[in-house]
Amino acid sequence: MNPRAVREKPIFDTGKQMSKSWSGQIAIVGIGESDIGTVPDKTPMELHADATKAALEDCGLEKADVDGVLTAGITNPLEIMHSVLLSEYLGIQPRFTTSMQIGGATQIQMIISAANAIHCGMADVVLIAAADSIRSFVGYEGLMSMFVEGVTDLLSRIGHAQFEVPYGPTLISAYALAATRHMDEYGTTKEQLAQVAVSLRKHASMHPTAQKRKPRTIDQVLSSKMISSPLTKDMCSIISDGGGALVLTSLERAKDLKKEPVFVLGAGARTLREHVSLVDDLVRTGSIDAGRQAYEMSGLGPKDIDFAQFYDCFSITPILFLEDFGFCEKGEGGRFVEGGERIEIGGEIPIVTHGGCHAHCHPGTPSGIFHIIEAVKQLRGEVEAGRRVEDARVGLINGLGGHFSSHTALIVGTD
């Protein structure tokens, strides 16, 4: 056995109490989305503003009420101090503002930060906004003319310039490496990977604005173009324009607003490494720790969760997260998804009920905001009959950034 195979010890000790101080004390009160899919006429800033207007309208607050602004930045590294640029664009002068950047884990990290700030009195009403234009690249002319061929090229440059990039890996290949390893260790099959894509596409087919609404079969998923084995095109994120926004405030302030508040009951996070070659174990993820914290803080467990909006950037991740969040034993994820019944609406634990990065909208880093928005909609009962999780009271969401690098978990509920 290779000495490398020694597991890293979890840093989170469940014996030590997490701060429970804001569990149930902070609420998501407003949600909003921009146009999504292909939006050829709007810059990322305009998409942020459209989503923000919709979120403020949703909760009935004015922009003058907002004194906290958090953003995830955009793919264009030339736009520095992004949350400040957005605040200026929106005419908001916040007390509390920053841009956070831990990839697809950022949205939940922003919620944790907003909750901290609200709880400590450093902000009363926090706007969280995330949007990008990585399909149409509106506003990217300057960057694109400098050096890149497209989003795949851009993202492939994230690896180590001397010790990874020369070998031609892609962002996708990091997830393919995890899939290969899971198949080898546990006998997971390519049909089981394909089932994830099929089930998510089915959910998207019932979503009125999802980008890909045509159902798929396992055979179709497997025969779509091979990208990075074992992942075919249909097992990967789509590429989209669009974004969303959330408004958070205290329990007190939430009481008088337009919609029923959705409370943040638990949260957790864990970052391992950035480069995929340094992540010791690709099939036991940092979500194990993030989830443990969120469960501990909320006093809830897998049996209490009515739906799970797992970060589904590639078809292997929901399989890993079903295991890592305790819905099945490690190694059983592939068999758990087989046939789709257990993970679809009406099943044991419906996952990614809007279709997620696979089929709803994936504008890169911002895509996790739609998982949160969908959770809020499900808890409010604001979804179409076909994909409604009946009597949903508690939902789990997770985020994953980089090359299995950063993991975040969030548990939300209505009481």
């Binding site: 031609g168 173009k225 990075s228």
Partner: protein, 138 residues
Amino acid sequence: MEEYRKPVPEPDRVTGPFWEAAREKKLLIQHCPDCGVHQFFPQAHCRECLSEKLEWVESTGKGTVYSFTVIHRAPSSTFEQDVPYTVALVDLDEGCRMISNIVDVDPQAVRVGMSVEVVFEEITANISLPKFRPARNS
């Protein structure tokens, strides 16, 4: 020699000795005299104990495939001529991991756990890239 168009590593203050040795077909990894770990990829500080006394030691160049993927959709046009090619995580016998390509073998024949050994591909006059092929005598 046809011009090499794919990304070429640019040695820096820390990594210079690695690339100089690679030209001579030697695979160097870092060893920390303070805590004893081997480290790859190299950096100025030990990731385990933050020591700055890292030393270069020669790896046997032997290891096993932790995982792999065969890339069919190239990251950029310069890799298109190579598809399908294999990107793998290789666990060196010294206990550190590298990302690399598995060469001299049909991508379909690569397996998790396969024993591999380093080979060097001279891509420019100054840079040879360490890659891996199935081990020939083990």
